[in-house]
Amino acid sequence: MNWDVIIKWLPRLADGALLTLELVAIAVVAGLILAVPLGIARASRHWYVRAFPYGYIFFFRGTPLLVQLFLVYYGMAQFDVIRKGPLWPYLRDPYWCAIITMTMHTAAYIAEILRGAIQAVPHGEVEAARALGMSRTQTLFYIILPRAVRIGLPAYSNEVILMLKASALASTITLLELTGMARTIIARTYLPVEIFFAAGMFYLLIAFFLVRGFRLLERWLRVDATQAR
């Protein structure tokens, strides 16, 4: 193991790690925002409301993220309408393609988590809210969603870790995030073991701090208190 090389390239790897963090942070937050209506619609009583989120979730969970990335980054160029459209400067840029794809990908998973959480809210609590005279919307926003957030939070933290690992795929569309940066450095130094090892350590470190952070968030939201039976 050539430690000098690792130390020499550590700042560049840290730059890559910053881009990784940026991609993941934007994707999981934007994905969450997109997932809230999707998840609520997915848990609907009416089949015609359920149908679209069902298809969306099925497609995004059934195909690899790599295919989805390529569909957005390379696939969109096939259509002249898009190439002449106002969104082309964004769809041409690998950064925005990665963000769009990762957001849509993770939204499908988070929506499914949210559906599970909504359905896990004890029915008695919903009935109690209705008996107190709350409207359906009020019940949703004051009773069901706050409960569902606490039920779904552990699964959401898992999803964030999975997205951290999935962000490595952005390197395939030329983005220089942690994995992409490592591959660039290796092309220069021909030391794959050392550099990939260092990149792996970065991922482990980020995952470690994310797990810690979510544990604090769970304590702050008092998740364990709501789970006492």
Partner: protein, 231 residues
Amino acid sequence: MTLDLYGFGPALAAGTFMTIKLALSALSLGLVLGLLGALAKTSPYKPLQWLGGSYSTIVRGVPELLWVLLIYFGTVNLMRSLADLLGVESLELNAFAAGTIALGLCFGAYATEVFRGAILAIPRGHREAGLALGLSKGRIFWRLIMPQMWRVALPGLGNLFMILMKDTALVSVIGLEEIMRRSQIAVTASKQPFTFYMVAAFIYLGLTILAMIGMHYLEKRASRGFVRSTT
């Protein structure tokens, strides 16, 4: 668009076959690794527990793509010294072997947790009953624990297998000619990226559906004798 996809239909079919082959071989390796990891984690010996624990933690914390790249590009020197040792002209890991090892390693790390949960779900009394009957440790594991463990572990393993099948796309990065690589080649020739990546997406969807049907059948078979309670 015709059904033969500008003449790339057979190539994509061959790619699909390669993807299935890769998924199944990674599954076999991963199941063995997962079983070993779970046995290590549930063993009474501290060093083994530590080994199993660090295997599953470290492998799960690093992206699958990084494992694929590390094992493909990182083993070149190792293989060269191994070739020197054996006195062979040259020895290298091809993309298929590297992909199998990398994906099997990742599958095994997750499967460790699934198997561990399944082992812990078997009542302690069953093991004690085996001991009382004078069965050896190995026999208790193979004849008592394993058959019952499968039933508990199957749903979790099914989920992992679907994830594994989608992860096979990553091996295209090191040039294995599976669905994604074949689609890329087709795109280069035909300049129809959306069409071909969409076809690839639908092939993966089809494989996922097939795996779901297979899992349903296996779960039904594994829970023979266990009547699911209905009201």
